[in-house]
C-alpha cells in the first residue's frame, strides 16, 4: 500500500512538472515564433513575455490554447489579446523601469502583468467587477505587487495617480475619453487597439506634445504589411 501511495505521488509530481515544462516550452516557442520573428526587438518586452505565465490568465478550458497565435475568450464577452498584440502594444509605448502606466480594461490581467515586469507601477481599471476580481486574484497569486486593480468606469482614468507616462486602452470605444488625455504626461504615449475581438488589425498610438495631440495609425496586420501587388 505504501508503495502504491509513493508511486501515485511520484506520478502526480511528474505530471505537474511535465505540464509546467510544457507551458514553458510553449512560451519559449511563442516568443521565438510569434514575437521575435515578427520584429519585436524591445528586450524588456521579450523578457516579460518569456516570464509571464500566460496560461494562468486564461480559463482552464482554454489553457491548452494559451500560447496559440490568437485571442481567446475569457468570459463576459471579453478576450485576452493575441500574444503578438500584447507584445506590440507593450513595445510601442517604450516602457522604462521608472514608468507609471495606466491600463483601461484589465480583462484577464495579462497585459498588466507584462507591463509590471518592466515598469515601476501599473494601475489597471476594469469596469466588469467579476473580471476585475479574477484578474486581481491571479496577479496577486503571481506576486505582481506593483499592479493595482480597480473595478470602476475607466472613462475617468485614475486621477490620484496621474499623470502617467503611458496609457494602454484595451477596452476601446468610439471616443478617447478626455480625462485620459488629461492624465497623460507631456510626451507620454497612449495605445489603443482597433478591431473586432478576434480580428485586431490596427493599433492607434496617441502622443501628447504640449497642446497638440497627435495620433498615428499602426498596422501590424497578420503581420505582413498589406501592400498592393505591383
Amino acid at each position: 500500500m505504501k508503495r502504491l501511495y509513493l508511486l501515485l505521488t511520484v506520478l502526480i509530481l511528474f505530471s505537474i512538472l511535465s505540464a509546467t515544462d510544457v507551458f514553458e516550452s510553449q512560451r519559449e516557442n511563442m516568443v521565438n515564433n510569434q514575437i521575435k520573428a515578427r520584429g519585436i526587438s524591445h528586450r524588456a518586452t521579450m523578457e516579460a513575455m518569456q516570464n509571464v505565465p500566460r496560461h494562468r490568465f486564461v480559463p482552464s478550458m482554454q489553457r491548452r490554447f494559451a500560447y496559440s497565435d490568437r485571442p481567446l475568450p475569457i468570459g463576459h464577452g471579453q478576450t485576452i489579446s493575441q500574444p503578438y498584440i500584447v507584445a506590440y502594444m507593450t513595445e510601442i509605448v517604450d516602457p522604462q523601469s521608472e514608468y507609471r502606466v495606466l491600463e483601461i480594461g484589465t480583462g484577464s490581467g495579462y497585459q498588466a502583468a507584462v507591463l509590471a515586469e518592466i515598469v515601476d507601477s501599473v494601475y489597471t481599471i476594469e469596469i466588469i467587477p467579476e473580471l476585475a476580481e479574477t484578474a486581481a486574484g491571479v496577479l496577486k497569486s503571481l506576486e505582481y505587487d506593483n499592479v493595482k486593480v480597480k473595478a470602476a468606469d475607466g472613462y475617468y482614468g485614475w486621477e490620484e495617480h496621474a499623470p502617467f507616462d503611458a496609457i494602454v486602452v484595451t477596452a476601446a470605444a468610439e471616443y478617447i475619453p478626455p480625462p485620459l488625455v488629461e492624465q497623460l504626461k507631456d510626451g507620454g504615449k497612449m495605445v489603443i487597439p482597433v478591431g473586432s475581438p478576434f480580428r485586431t488589425q490596427n493599433l492607434m498610438l496617441i502622443t501628447k506634445r504640449g497642446d497638440d495631440i497627435v495620433s498615428r495609425s499602426l498596422f501590424p496586420v497578420r503581420f505582413v504589411p498589406f501592400t498592393r501587388s505591383e
Partner: protein
Amino acid sequence: MSSLDKTHPFQLISIGLLSAAIIAFQLVLMTLFSNTQWYHFASMVISVALLGFGASGTFLTIFRSFLLDNSRRVITLSMLACSLFMALSVTLSQLDPIRFDSFLIFSEQQHVFKLIATYLVLFIPFFFGGLAIGVSFARDVKNIGTLYFANLLGSGIGGILVLGLFWHFYPASLPIVIAILPLIAALIFIMRKLDTFIMIPIIFVAIVILVLFINPPETKTSEFKSISQVLQLPDAEIKHEQPTPFGLIQVVSAPALRYAPGLSLQYRGDIPIEDVVFSDGEWFGPIIFLQDSNSAHIYDYSTIGLPYRMNAHQNVLVLDAGTGDNIAHALSNRIPNISAIEPNATIPRILNSKYPQSSVYLREEVSLHQMHNYTYLLSAEDKYDLIVMPTLDAFGGTSGLYALQERYYLTLEAFEQMWDLVDEDGMICISTWMDYPVRYPLRILSTFTELLDRQNISDYQSHIAAIRSWGMVSFVLKKTPLTDSDVTSIRNFASEMNFDPLQLPDIQPEERTQYNQMEDESFFTYFDLLMSGQGDDFIRDYEFNIAPTSENRPYFSQFIRLDKLSQLRTYFSDHSLPFLELGYIIILVTLLQVSIVAIILIILPLLTRRWGGSHKIWTLFYFGALGIGFMFIEIVFIQRFVLYFGNPIYAATAVISSILIFSGLGSFTTSYFIAARKSIMNVCFIIITFAILYSIFLTPILKLTINTPILIKLLLTIILIGPISFAMGMPFPFGLRLLNRHNPTNICWAWGINGCLSVISAVLATVIAVEFGFIAVMIIAALMYAIAHISTSLSYSKF
C-alpha cells in the same frame, strides 16, 4: 384507398394549416437567431433546416410503399411530430451542449459541433412537416392541383399571420404559438374518424405546448453581441422592450454609456451619458438628450460637424434618421426645417412615448417620413441645402456583418437623386470610420467621382472636400465649386480640432498628416488616383471591390472579390479572414454546405436497388429548375417591391403572400386542364416571357409610379405579380400528374429535388445578386423555366 383518404375539405384545411405553420416557423427562426446570434447565421441555420423538406422526399422515395400503405397515420403522426418539435425547438437549441456562439465558430471546434447539433434540432420539424405534405401529395396525385393550392395558400397566410404575431410575442415564445397550427391540422385531418391510437399523442403534444406556453424558455444572446457587452456595465438595465417585425427593440441605460463618435482629441468637456437603442442585440443608435439651445452638440467636435462649419443651412434632409442623433445635431445648429427619413416606425414611437421631453421627432422643426430612404429620394420634390447621411461602418469595424445588407440610398442612382434634390449651393455630407484595409472611404470617393462624371464635371477637386481625424473621415460633395470661404472654414475647423484636411482644391501633402499620421500612407496614393480621373485601372486592380454600387447591386458594405480570395488569405489568416467580411463568407459557406447535403439527399434514392423507373433525368432537371426559378423570381420581386412601398416588412409580406396566393390559384386551375407536354411547355413559355420583360421593364415601371397613392400601388402590384405568379403555380402540379401517369415511383423524389433546390436557390440568389445583380437573378430564373420547357419537350415527346 378508402373514402376517408380521398381529398376532402378537411384534408385541404389541414394541409393549409401545416403549410402556414412551416412558413411562419421559418420566419420566426430567422428572427430568433438574428436576435441571439447574427442575421447571416440565421440564414445558414434556416437553409439547413429546410433541407428537412428535401430529406423527407428522399425518405419517402426509399420507404414509399410502407408510408403510402399507412398514409393516414403517417400524415397525422408527422403533423404531431412537427408540432412537438416546433414547440421544443427553442428549449432544445438553448441547451448548453447544443447552444452555439457564432463568433466562436471560427476559433473553437466545439462550437462547430454545437452548430451541427442545432441544425439537427431544427431539421426535425421541417422533416416531419415535409413528410406530411409529401405523403399527402403522393397518395392523391390526381388532385395535386387542389392540394398544392392548399399548400401555397396556407404558406401565403402563414406569412401574413406571423407579421401580426411579431408585434405581440417575444421571439422565444413564437415557435410555441405556431406549433398550435400543426396540432390543429392533425386534429382536423383525423376528425372524420377518430383513432384512439392517435388521440394519445395528440393529448401529449397539447400538454407539452400548454406547459411551454405558460412557462416559455429563455434564450441566451451571444456574449459578443453589443447588448451583451453593454449589459455587463455596472447598473445597466433594459428600460424598454418591444418585439417588432424589424427585430426586438431594447432601450438600455447605464451610467457608463456614452457616445461621441470620433471625438476630437482637443475636446476637454464632458461627454453626455445617453440611453442606447438596440435592435436584435446590435447597436442601433443613441438617444441624444437635447441640451439647451446655447450648448454645442458633441458632434460639433467630430468630423461630422464639417458641413455646419462651412455654411449656415436652412433645409436639411437627414437620411436613415434612426434614434435622431443627426437630427439633434441639426437642431443644435438651429436648422429651421429638417426632413427626417426613418423606415422603422417603432423607433420614433418609442422615443415619443418614453422620452417626450427630449424626442427630436416631436420638435416642430422636424417632419418625419416613415419610408425607405431610397423611396423618399425617388419621390421627393423639396429642395435641400444639406443632405446628411448616417455614419458608415463602426468603430473597430462591424466584421462585415452588413455586407449583404441592401443599401439603396448609397447607390449611384440614389446619389443622382440627391444631386437633384440639393439646391444650387447645396451639399451632401457623409462620414465613415476609417477601416483597414481601406474600403469605405475609397468606395465613397469612387461613387462621388462617378457621379460628377455623370454630371459632366471633370474638376473633382473643386467639388469634393474631406477631413480626417484619428478614426473618421467626413466627405462633403458640393454642387457648385468650393469657394475660398469654404476652404478657409474647413482648414480652420480642422486646425481647431486637430483634424487633417484630406481633400481640398489646394491641398498640400504635408497637411494630410499634421495631427493624424498613418504608418501606411498608401491610402493617400489610392485617394489621389481616384481624384485624378484615372481611377478605373485602380478600381479594377484593387484587392477589394470599391466600385460604386447600383440599384442592381446595392451592396455598399460588400467588398470581397472572389477572384482575390486566395490572395487575401495570405495576408489574413483563416481565423481572421472571416471577420473581414463575415456576412458574405457565411453565405458562401452556407451555399457550399447546403449544396453538398442537397446533392447527397438527391443522389441517395438513386442508390436504392429497388428503385427503377424512367424519366429520371427529366425529373431531376424539371423539378430542380422549378425549385430554383420560383425562388429566384420571388426574391427579385421582394427586393423591387420593398423599394416601391418603402416599408420592408409589409412589402415583403405582401409580395410573398401575393405570389403564394396567386400561384395557389394557378395550381388549383390545373385540375381543369390535361397534364400534357404541351400544357407544360405553354406555361413555361409564358413565365419565361414575363421574366425577361420584367428584367427590363419592372424597375422603370415601379419608379414611374412610385408617387401614386397607396391603393393604386396595391392594384399595380396585383397586376404585376398576379399573372406571372398564377402561371408559376402550374408547372409543379402538371409535372407531378405527368409523373403519376408514367412513373409514379419518381413522385417522392421529385418532391425532394424541388425542396432541396429551393433551399439552395435562396442562398444562391443572394450570391448571384451580389456578384452580378438582380437582373441576372431574373434572367437565370427565365433560364430555369427554359430548362423545364426544353427538358419536357425532349423527354416527353410521346405525350
